[in-house]
């Protein structure tokens, strides 16, 4: 009997040892993959250890992939950069049949042309969310429903946006009734943003920054991300996220496996863990973006923002998902934005 137990434990150790890999994850800091409880549970369940490394911008992430082949096994890539990573041969096709939870991802995401190239899946849709704005519920009697709420001159000095050229220009496009992926009238955008600048209190730069301004009562309304807004609300700030009539900017984040990874199987296991509804429900309780897995969204409590608001078909119809932006457009947006800032 005693020998039997020993034998079993030896066997267990042996198998765990045989396939125990160290997987290296590259992501934004504090963005889902590095939640302590989840990493610990994953390590216990699979025997793989997880090590994290972080990037501060998408360009930095791409450079890290280019310059450190073999250093990463799972990389979080925003869908609009996925195509570029595939073109440069940085990421590999993923065998989705090995991912148990992949079936829960609806076709709209699973077949997204930004992630599927030549019939192969290069990125597993993980989370999505909106860039729009949130307001302080204590300073408004009625919830604003239009993006024009940001241009409310009566709230001069109590409005903020993020210091980001692409985001600012896309807001200007929404407010001037244009398609964010096909901006025809850049002058209208410039005019709209020029009118916004004098109303601004400041630019916010990070989620923490945003929360502090709101907590200090310095802002009434500010652009924000849906996932961050639910996190702020979960921390007790009186804020509510708005998806205005004019629409909102949608983004999709995907998990990918670099072509140079030496632990592709363990990496796939980790990705499967990340799109598991069970993981997502726990993450959402702490404030998470929307899950790309429909089953995960359905598993949320009914009043959860990510189910109630973002699951609403009327809201979904207003979302304009970001397409990749060409370098020329990016440079044009940057020039416009810097010109506006310098004129202040």
């Amino acid at each position: 009997m005693k020998n039997g137990i020993l034998l079993i434990s030896f066997l267990a150790l042996g198998t765990a040892g045989a396939c125990a890999d160290e997987i290296r994850v590259l992501n934004w800091q504090g963005y889902g993959t590095d939640l302590k409880w989840s990493v610990e549970a994953f390590e216990e369940a699979t025997g793989h250890t997880v090590v994290h490394e972080y990037f501060n911008s998408e360009q930095e992430m791409l450079t890290k992939l280019r310059t450190n082949p073999g250093a990463y096994d799972v990389v979080m890539i925003n869908a609009i950069f996925n195509g570029q990573a595939v073109d440069e041969d940085l990421i590999a096709a993923i065998d989705t049949s090995k991912l148990e939870n992949y079936a829960g991802i609806p076709q709209t995401f699973a077949a997204d042309p930004k992630l599927v190239h030549d019939g192969s899946v290069y990125g597993v849709p993980w989370t999505w969310g909106l860039t729009s704005f949130a307001y302080n519920t204590q300073s408004y009697d009625k919830a604003p429903t239009s993006i024009e709420a940001l241009w409310d001159s009566e709230r001069k000095g109590r409005i903020a946006i993020r210091d980001d050229a692409v985001e600012a220009v896309q807001f200007g496009a929404l407010a001037s009734g244009q398609d964010i992926n096909d901006i025809q009238d850049l002058d209208a955008v410039r005019e709209k943003l020029a009118a916004l600048m004098p109303l601004l209190r400041t630019f916010w730069s990070s989620e923490n920054d945003w929360n502090q301004f709101m907590a200090a009562g310095e802002l009434d309304i500010a652009t924000f991300w849906s996932g961050s807004a639910s996190r702020s609300a979960a921390q007790g700030l009186p804020v509510e996220f708005v998806v205005p009539e004019e629409g909102a900017i949608g983004w999709l984040d995907s998990l990918t496996i670099p072509s140079s990874s030496e632990h592709k199987e363990a990496a796939a296991q980790f990705i499967d863990w990340m799109i598991d509804p069970e993981f997502y429900v726990k993450w959402n309780a702490e404030g998470a973006p929307a899950s790309a897995n429909a089953e995960a969204a359905a598993a949320l409590p009914e009043d959860a923002f990510n189910r109630k608001v973002l699951g609403d078909p009327a809201v979904a119809a207003r979302i304009q998902f970001q397409d990749p932006i060409s370098d020329e457009d990016r440079a044009r947006y940057l020039e416009l934005w810097q010109g506006l800032k310098a004129a202040q």
Partner: protein
């Protein structure tokens, strides 16, 4: 002088000086020349396999009116901050060097240097806490004064100037103090015995004799303030876009190192030009 050196002395000189020059080479010259090299590239070699050499990065400065306008804005900021540093710092140094003696001087000196021991980012964030609406400053004033005070200093140009003056004031005080302390007290007594008023002593004696120290302090303040980016960003809010913040954006947010490097070298060139133009004044002050 060099010819008069014996071979052994020369060897000793070389061996004694080489660590310093090696350090200068590794710490200053190599990084700077790497940046100079980057500033002429179309893209970073590790990102762009078909990179090439170009002057376009420098051309952008002249094509886009935003950059010269921002440089001018930063130069004005540098002048304002340097001016305030001199206005506040020189009298402080004068009092420290000539009026206060003994332990009180040591204590005051410590208070001047104390801010230097803390991280500059911490100092700027402390200013943010003091200046913000309903912050420490406003609350104190409202407590002391019977009427309601609304300063609203945070996220204004004034806030940037206040933060920068506080950060760089010790340079002016220290350099002026050293120059003022070197002036013999007997000279002042002599002037006084000849009937010179306090103002005359300051204007004709102290100011000319301590001018090299004052100017050295002014240069030490002006140069970093023109390129400052952290203080304007934190304290300036939407008005906090300066030449330095645009350079920082190129490196951190936009990831266009060649353009960032080119803009930096234009700044360096302009600052050197200004120093060269003012050097006759500096030289006259020294003699």
């Amino acid at each position: 002088m060099a010819e008069a050196l014996l071979p052994t002395e020369r060897r000793r000189l070389v061996s004694l000086l080489s660590p310093a020059y090696l350090w200068l080479l590794v710490a200053v010259f190599l990084p700077l020349s790497a940046m100079l090299f980057f500033s002429f590239l179309t893209g970073l070699p590790q990102d762009d396999p078909d990179w090439g050499v170009t002057l376009a990065n420098y051309g952008k400065f002249f094509q886009n009116p935003t950059y010269p306008a921002l440089l001018w804005k930063s130069l004005k900021l540098g002048l304002w901050v340097t001016g305030f540093c001199i206005l506040i710092g020189y009298p402080c140094a004068l009092v420290l060097a000539k009026s206060i003696k003994g332990r009180a001087r040591e204590a005051l000196f410590l208070m001047v240097i104390l801010p230097f021991w803390s991280n500059s980012l911490v100092r700027i964030f402390s200013w943010a806490i003091v200046l913000r609406g309903n912050g420490v400053l406003e609350r104190t004033l409202n407590f002391l004064l019977p009427f309601d005070v609304r300063l609203n200093l945070m996220f204004t140009r004034e806030a940037v100037v206040i933060g920068l003056v506080h950060s760089y004031l010790p340079y002016v005080i220290l350099t002026s103090y050293l120059a003022l302390q070197a002036i013999d007290d007997d000279l002042i007594d002599a002037a006084r015995s000849m009937g010179a008023s306090k103002l005359t002593i300051l204007r004709r004696l102290l100011l000319p004799l301590s001018l090299p120290g004052l100017l050295a302090g002014a240069v030490l303040v002006f140069v970093p303030v023109v390129g400052s980016f952290m203080e304007p960003r934190i304290l300036g809010g939407r008005l906090g876009t300066y030449y330095g913040t645009v350079i920082e954006d190129q490196f951190v947010a936009v990831y266009n190192w060649p353009l960032g490097a080119a803009l930096s070298f234009i700044l360096l060139a302009v600052v050197l030009l200004i120093l060269a133009l003012t050097s006759p004044v500096l030289k006259r002050a020294r003699t």
